[in-house]
């Protein structure tokens, strides 16, 4: 038995070029399959972990998914603003326990700036109802103070006390700097793995203050209100982007949703964040399944290549196998030898594919996070990935049985009889 396997290994080594190419095909196919599965699972995970404990997200009337993406994930198309009066009417509703306004639109060196209240740090929850924690400092208390997420602090090297300026719009630089009104970093949040990490938080009043001397999206020439005078103005915002709502009783959520959706003052939309995310998954589920099916087909193509290579090899190895038979190897030994070879190549390919997926995902993780807000966890392969890996190897075994069976059926005389 051992001798057979040793011979198989040596024989495979002598055919390393063809087998190597087949191996590459299987590695790439497995990597594709695993990568699709990993991104699918992790995207879902990072989205659904991003917000919890919020009963309703309220914004201008648009799609539920769009409102969620913009208000919570700061990605996708911007939604319209809602009036401050509407916000107050909703926040004052007897069923509402807490309401936190959100105002988006400015940025700081590529990171979103969120105008909100200090309550945000108290009420916001992510993952399994985890609260935000400060690694340094505290929530903002006055107008020109900012709290930065962990990634903002790490990437830009900020510590408490750092002075920063915000920019108008989303440009990296240059669309318009609010250079005359610098902010001081007063707090740094612990890492959450959610969009909070990539956000600069300032007071809602700060957003108004920044734009006091702006008219029509431009700084007004000749008018410059210095920061120390800002407090003399009414800093109450006229409009906000969205609001997060927590209710006293969960059973009120649908009644409240209806109240907001039928709000008289202006067209508003209230969405349950979890419902909106489920709707998003329902919408892209078909795409996911298609991608997974295509990757599975690529694996099948790779394994068909393996079978073809082994079968073609059988013709070349007719003499080799016949000599083995003549030396006393039974048909079963040859069957084993061929099947083992195929199975080994598949297993090796699948494992290398897994390694490549892990390597690739750790390399692509920062980019995916930045572009799509998807956190690719550096972790052991999940149950779904192991299942796929098992399926690849099982399919590889079946594919290797065919050449094995052919070798079994080859008669002793076959390779020894010279052909004309």
């Amino acid at each position: 038995m051992n001798a057979v396997l040793r011979l198989a290994a040596l024989s495979a080594w002598s055919r390393r070029l063809t087998l190597g190419l087949t191996l590459v095909a299987i590695v790439l196919a497995t990597t594709l399959l695993l990568a699709v599965e990993r991104i699918r699972v992790d995207a879902r995970q990072s989205f659904s972990q991003s917000v919890s404990g919020v009963d309703l997200v309220v914004g201008a009337r648009t799609g539920a998914v769009q409102l969620m993406l913009y208000a919570v994930f700061h990605s996708g198309a911007a939604s319209n603003n809602i009036g401050w009066n509407s916000y107050q009417a909703i926040a004052g509703h007897p069923a509402v326990d807490w309401a936190v306004p959100l105002s988006l639109g400015d940025s700081h060196r590529g990171f979103a700036v969120l105008g909100t209240r200090a309550d945000y740090f108290r009420h916001f929850r992510f993952g399994e109802h985890e609260a935000l924690r400060f690694t340094a400092g505290e929530p903002f208390a006055s107008v020109f103070e900012a709290v930065v997420g962990s990634e903002v602090a790490a990437r830009l090297g900020y510590a408490v006390g750092q002075e920063i300026t915000l920019s108008h719009g989303i440009g990296e630089t240059g669309m318009g700097e609010h250079g005359d009104k610098p902010f001081r970093v007063v707090g740094i949040l612990a890492a959450t793995g959610t969009p909070v990490d990539r956000t600069v938080h300032v007071g809602l009043e700060a957003i108004t203050a920044l734009h006091l001397d702006w008219v029509g999206g431009m700084p007004m020439p000749g008018l410059n209100i210095p920061p120390q005078l800002v407090a003399k103005f009414d800093l109450q915002p006229k409009e906000i982007t969205a609001a997060l709502i927590g209710l006293k009783q969960r059973s009120d959520v649908f009644r409240m949703q209806r109240f907001i959706n039928e709000f008289r003052g202006e067209p508003l939309l209230a969405v349950l964040p979890g419902v909106a995310l489920d709707e998003l998954w329902q919408a892209i589920g078909t795409v996911e399944r298609t991608l997974l099916a295509i990757s599975a087909l690529v694996v099948v193509v790779g394994l068909a290549g393996l079978t073809a290579t082994l079968l073609a090899g059988l013709n070349e190895r007719r003499r080799e196998l016949a000599i083995l038979r003549a030396l006393g190897a039974g048909p079963r030994d040859l069957f084993l030898m061929l099947t083992a070879e195929g199975l080994l190549v598949t297993t090796l390919g699948a494992l290398l594919g897994l390694a490549l997926t892990s390597l690739g995902s750790s390399l692509a993780a920062p980019w995916l996070l930045e572009r799509f807000g998807v956190v690719l966890g550096a972790r052991l392969p999940g149950a779904g990935e192991l299942e796929l890996l098992g399926l690849v190897i099982a399919t590889g075994l079946i594919a290797s049985l065919i050449p094995g069976w052919r070798a079994w059926r080859m008669s002793l005389a076959d390779g020894l009889t010279p052909r004309i």
Partner: protein, 163 residues
């Protein structure tokens, strides 16, 4: 011409928000809230799904259909079945049948409250509503409970909200 068609097609796409409440024949809405052992269910059905017309009844047969729908919707214990182990009992039923005050469409609104003795055992709610109303093809469901929120589409083949 093509642009006009495109415009019409765009306008025809229903907005995701339930503003002037969407009315799609064959599709109803179900909202399920679970809080401290209490299940609150709100059901909204196009009248068409329940009886096959959306106006005042014209003859005895149509009147009978309305009465039957009314009866079926009030029999909540047969309509919604929470996980038996949770030991839930029906607390209240509120049913608003349409008044036929004009307008193109008519909806039925109903709300139900169950109280569950063993709320921790509550894993889902099954409905027999598709057996009652053959013209109902799906229920767009929102739920909010201790395990978070979610959306589901209930159909005759899959008449269960679970979490």
């Amino acid at each position: 011409m093509r642009k006009t068609l495109l415009l019409i097609a765009l306008l025809a796409i229903p907005p995701a928000a339930r503003s002037a409440p969407a009315h799609v024949h064959g599709a109803g809405h179900l909202d399920v809230a679970i809080d401290k052992g209490q299940i609150t269910i709100a059901l909204e059905l196009p009248l068409d799904a329940a009886v096959g017309f959306e106006r005042a009844p014209k003859n005895d047969k149509e009147k009978a259909a309305l009465v039957a729908a009314d009866k079926a919707l009030k029999d909540a214990a047969a309509l919604f079945m929470p996980t038996p182990a949770a030991n839930c009992t029906l607390q209240s039923v509120k049913l608003d049948m349409p008044q036929f005050a004009g307008g193109e469409h008519a909806d039925i609104d109903a709300s139900y409250v169950f109280r569950c003795a063993a709320a921790a055992e509550l894993k889902g709610i099954e409905t027999t509503i598709f057996k009652q109303f053959k013209r109902l093809y799906r229920l767009e469901t929102q739920r909010s409970g201790p395990n978070g929120q979610g959306a589901a589409r209930l159909t005759p083949k899959h008449p269960v909200v679970s979490w």
